[in-house]
Amino acid sequence: MRFDSCGDAALLVTLGDAASAALSRRISALHVRLTTARTRPAGLQEAVPGHTTLLLIYDPAFTDPVRLRTAVEALQDSPVERIEPRIRTIPVCYHDSLAPDLAEVAARCGLSVDAVIDLHAARDYTVHLLGFSPGFPYLGDLSAELVLPRRAEPRARVPAGAVAIATRYTAIYPQATPGGWHLIGRTPLVLFDARRDPPALLRPGDSVRFTPISLTEYEQMSASL
């Protein structure tokens, strides 16, 4: 592990070099232990998972990097109570009308549209982190056959629920925001609602599976949500 100060109120803990599902689960486990009342170090305010890191935000009146580092190392050494990843199933409609970039993605990857859908829906993903906007999950790893750079021209508005891919990741836009990823489907689920507890549907470390649904099913589910 590496520890880097970010000013006098944050400490960046780096747990590995390359992003992976296993590393995300380790980061998530450390996050949970650091923010659980029983094992929470004094002065720690919050922790933000990254692909290979955990940012600790603290009150410098109550702690410092040396004490936090000691606390992190002690938790790392303690016997790990296994935290089973939660499995979340997310229905996705890949119909043309909700997937404006699907045909182009298929063409650029040299695949049929059905093959793209099969590759996207066939595997389990891990939530590496939430960021960019409230509740926006970075899900890894995308099939190597679907890896494309971000769009050259980002869209000014991507609809909420859009399921997207770019580089090694797939994601879901929780709100209507600008965005530069390729849109290949839409989910009727609400990814983020500040009035819900917890507000985000996913959390770092979760395992995610996409289930294809028809346009009719999408419309029925949207209406009932």
Partner: protein, 318 residues
């Protein structure tokens, strides 16, 4: 219930408190007042709970009217003028005053600093969202309907009993001025920059460009060159980070900054200077001075002592 009606909404007026804590892991930014020091002084002056939300007037002045009752308020970093039947009453900053039912208050645009504040006794009666009334516009969270204030909005005010108290003042308020120097600590990724990049950062001033907003101050000055590319796996970012994209021009991350970022950070503004960073205006210039953790601690204690000394200058208005 008393309401504050917005007659003229200014340029970028929003409700902000001391920020949203504990949801950054879900991608929810901290938000809150750009100048939390001014907010704290106004709340102390009005005997409000520390961290109570107030109106933040970014760059522009506003006009408001008291509806359905009277209210007590105080202004930070800008002066106001109340127009009534008999004439006008001037309200200096750092003084409490009463706005009577149907009276109109005009608050001047902040000068010398980016934001002025209007706090009301008791605070605004709006729903807290994820523990805060701060407005996060890009996510339509908190504040008044998740957005900037518009003409015609009527904000309810909690519990005002303005009749039965003497007015108070802060004899040593904050001067409405932006800082000329911000102190930074190196890192977390100074090693991703060419040798001497920290010297470049501290050698000459940077100008705040017009594409700045409540998320980040986009700076323009001597470019900071990366050693090994500017792509980083996205990671949590601290408020006050100087994040450097491929252009080499740093972005100072402030209140509404995204919780994660994928560019290297050469340095981070120390906690004692974050409120000052929020006072920087577009077009203004600032220098950076490198300090170590001990100096950051001394600066934090000095800032606390200075704040306590200011609070000790609260007096009844004679």
């Amino acid at each position: 219930m008393t309401h504050l009606e917005i007659m003229r909404a200014g340029i970028h007026t929003s409700l902000q408190d001391d920020g949203r804590r504990g949801y950054r892991d879900l991608g929810v930014p901290g938000s809150g007042a750009l100048d939390p020091l001014t907010l704290r002084l106004l709340n102390a002056l009005l005997d409000n709970r520390d961290g109570t939300g107030a109106l933040e007037l970014l760059y522009g002045g506003i006009t408001v009217r008291a509806r359905d009752g009277a209210l007590r308020f105080a202004l930070g970093c800008a002066a106001g003028r109340i127009v009534q039947h008999g004439g006008i009453r001037d309200v200096p900053p750092w003084h409490t005053a009463v706005l009577d039912r149907d009276e109109t208050l005009t608050i001047a645009a902040p000068a010398g600093t980016a934001a002025a504040y209007m706090a009301v006794e008791g605070g605004f009666a709006v729903e807290t969202v994820l523990g805060s009334v701060s407005t996060y516009g890009p996510g339509a969270l908190g504040g008044w309907q998740g957005r900037l204030l518009h003409r015609g909005d009527r904000l309810p005010i909690l519990n005002t009993a303005p009749a039965c108290r003497r007015e108070r003042m802060l004899t040593h308020g904050l001067a409405p001025a932006a800082p000329s120097v911000l102190r930074v600590m190196a890192g977390p990724q100074q090693s991703r920059f060419v040798r001497g990049a920290l010297d470049t950062l501290t050698a000459s001033p940077y100008r705040v460009t017009p594409s700045s907003n409540r998320s980040g101050l986009r700076l323009d000055g001597a470019p900071l060159r990366h050693e090994e590319g500017h792509d980083l796996l996205s990671e949590g970012v601290a408020t006050g980070s100087l994040q450097v994209p491929g252009t080499g021009q740093p972005v100072l991350l402030i209140a509404d900054h995204p919780t994660v970022g994928g560019y290297p950070k050469i340095a981070t503004v120390i906690s004692a200077d974050l409120a000052a960073a929020g006072r920087l205006r577009i077009g203004g210039e600032v220098r950076f001075a490198l300090v170590d953790a001990h100096a950051a601690r001394d600066a934090r204690l000095a800032a606390q002592a200075e704040h306590a000394a200011r609070l000790a200058t609260i007096r009844d208005v004679p």
